[in-house]
């Protein structure tokens, strides 16, 4: 079942306008993505925790979302320390663990986690419809926004169709395994899903014609920024400046960092 788990709420983050949140999330994502040293990334991780708490997202649920990147991080931690060289910090007759790899793996872990949590706190706390309108107000092309809205509208319906078909296959004793019969069955299910979607698309297009649609998209949403929006954006701007300064070693934090 597809669900937007965090998009309803009463937190200070939810009260910001979607456009503010989207702008902040995009800006922060690029700033953090470009950091290459540990101290600013620790700051970014701290910020991500603050945002998660401000959005009143259950820490356990946020942690579960981090599992998405766990597989990749595990691979990084297994491979990089053995392959990147640098000063050796541990070795036996087969393996050498190098410092460069450890640092790189640590860097990536901090960065991906911080970025994922920031995205979770700022973007997953709004519905995709709000995100689409926010992106429109940030000058994403109207056609792409319309596409995003229509796609979002129909994923739930189509997922439901797919689940029901999978159930119907199960009812008839279908058991997924590594076999041609299995792949053929999946291919047929998907083919049917595509066919039905294409038929539906035809009907939807006709319905749009009936409503006078001529290819132009008019958005209804208007954003009126309030004090809290300006305050939040300024905060993000100042914070990003500190990140940049510490990345460039103009601001230096205590030695443990």
């Amino acid at each position: 079942m597809l669900q937007e788990n965090f998009c309803r709420g009463e937190s200070p983050i939810h009260k910001l306008s979607p456009r503010t949140r989207t702008l902040a999330a995009i800006f922060l994502a690029f700033v953090v993505a470009l950091c290459q040293t540990i101290p600013p990334l620790l700051l970014a991780l701290a910020l991500s925790f603050i945002l998660i708490i401000a959005a009143r997202i259950n820490l356990f649920k946020a942690g579960r979302r981090l599992l998405v990147i766990a597989g990749f991080l595990l691979l990084i931690w297994l491979v990089l320390p053995l392959t990147c060289g640098g000063p050796v910090i541990w070795q036996n007759s087969f393996l050498e663990i190098g410092r460069t790899g450890i640092t790189l793996a640590l860097l990536l872990t901090l960065k991906t986690s911080a970025m994922l949590l920031i995205f979770l706190a700022l973007i997953s706390t709004m519905s995709t419809a709000d995100l689409a309108h926010a992106l429109h107000s940030l000058k994403l092309p109207a056609k792409l926004v319309l596409l995003l809205l229509i796609t979002y509208r129909y994923i739930f319906l189509i997922e439901d169709e797919l689940q029901t078909m999978l159930r119907a296959a199960k009812i008839r004793n279908f058991q997924p395994n590594t076999s041609l019969h299995c792949y053929k069955t999946y291919a047929n299910l998907l083919g049917m899903l595509f066919v039905r979607s294409a038929e539906r698309a035809q009907r939807v297009h006709k319905a749009m014609l009936c409503r006078g649609f001529d290819g132009r998209f008019h958005s209804l949403t208007e954003y009126h920024d309030r004090a809290q929006d300006y305050f939040f954006l300024s905060f993000i701007l100042i914070f990003s400046t500190i990140l940049a300064l510490s990345e460039l070693r103009i601001v230096v934090f205590p030695a443990i960092l």
Binding site: S127, T128, A129, L149, I150, Y152, R153, Y154, F156, L157, R200, R203, V204, K206, A207, M208, L209, C210, R211, G212, F213, D214, R216, H218, L220, E222
Partner: protein, 248 residues
């Protein structure tokens, strides 16, 4: 095109010798004749595949007839440009509401039509809220369309059609999948639309008798405007298995 066929003073829409078949298919409509006058409330009950939805799609120009013509407000409608004008005044409720609600939120969906008709944002919103209120759906404005129940979707789809402020409504099986309560709500609504003309397709005779003044059927690609035939048709249905209610 000149105004050439205003036979009845108040005829809004007429279909004259309308024929249609899908590419390489058998004829679906065959020299069908029919006319709808102002404030006409007409029902059509006919078997699956007899061409009811096809006829509705022809009327609003989503399909083009292979022969015959469609006359709207005294003018023959042939070009896409003519149909664009027609579609502003003839609202079609599709057989499946999910095909008709293509935006995530109800208000966006309802306002889409007025916006396309050239209204500005605030006008479009005002019309939309009015329509929702008229249908007792004001609370729905911010709801997400895919989370509505089947019956609620139907009502919202009706709102999207009404927001275009049509003079004629074409309703394709509006009661399919609705439970009694929602059906009853729909009956009340239709009975309030005294100023509009509408044409309703449905398999449910009870619903048709409550909302329309005449019920016609379709056979061999024609509309049979003959009350006798309607009863005959219904009797036939009884013989083939549907007994009249026996209880009480």
């Amino acid at each position: 095109m000149p105004s050439d066929c205003r036979q009845h003073p108040s005829t809004i829409l007429s279909l004259e010798d309308l024929s249609f078949h899908y590419p390489e298919g058998p004829p679906i409509l065959d020299e069908l004749n029919f006319s709808l006058r102002e404030r006409d409330h007409i029902g059509i009950a006919a078997p699956n595949g007899s061409g009811k939805s096809t006829m509705f799609h022809l009327i609003v120009g989503l399909l083009r007839p292979t022969a015959g013509r469609i006359v709207f407000n005294g003018k023959t409608v042939t070009e896409e440009a003519d149909f664009k004008i027609l579609r502003r005044q003839v609202g079609l409720l599709f057989q499946n509401a999910d095909d008709q609600l293509f935006f995530p939120t109800v208000i966006e969906d309802v306002a889409f039509g007025p916006l396309n008709l050239g209204k500005n944002k605030s006008e479009a919103l005002e019309i939309s809220y009015q329509v929702l209120e008229r249908l007792n759906l004001s609370d729905f404005a911010k709801r997400i369309t895919f989370k509505l129940s089947g019956g609620e979707k139907r009502l919202v789809a009706l709102a999207t059609v009404l927001a275009m402020e049509p003079k004629v409504l074409l309703l394709d099986e509006p009661t399919a999948g609705l439970d009694h309560k929602t059906k009853h709500k729909l009956v009340e609504m239709l009975n309030n639309f005294t100023e509009l003309s509408y044409l309703v397709v449905s398999h449910e005779f009870d619903f048709l008798t409550e909302t329309t003044a005449h019920i016609y059927t379709m056979e061999n690609g024609k509309i049979l405007v003959d009350e006798e035939l309607y009863i005959h048709h219904h009797e036939h249905a009884h013989r083939s298995g549907k007994q009249p209610h026996r209880h009480i």
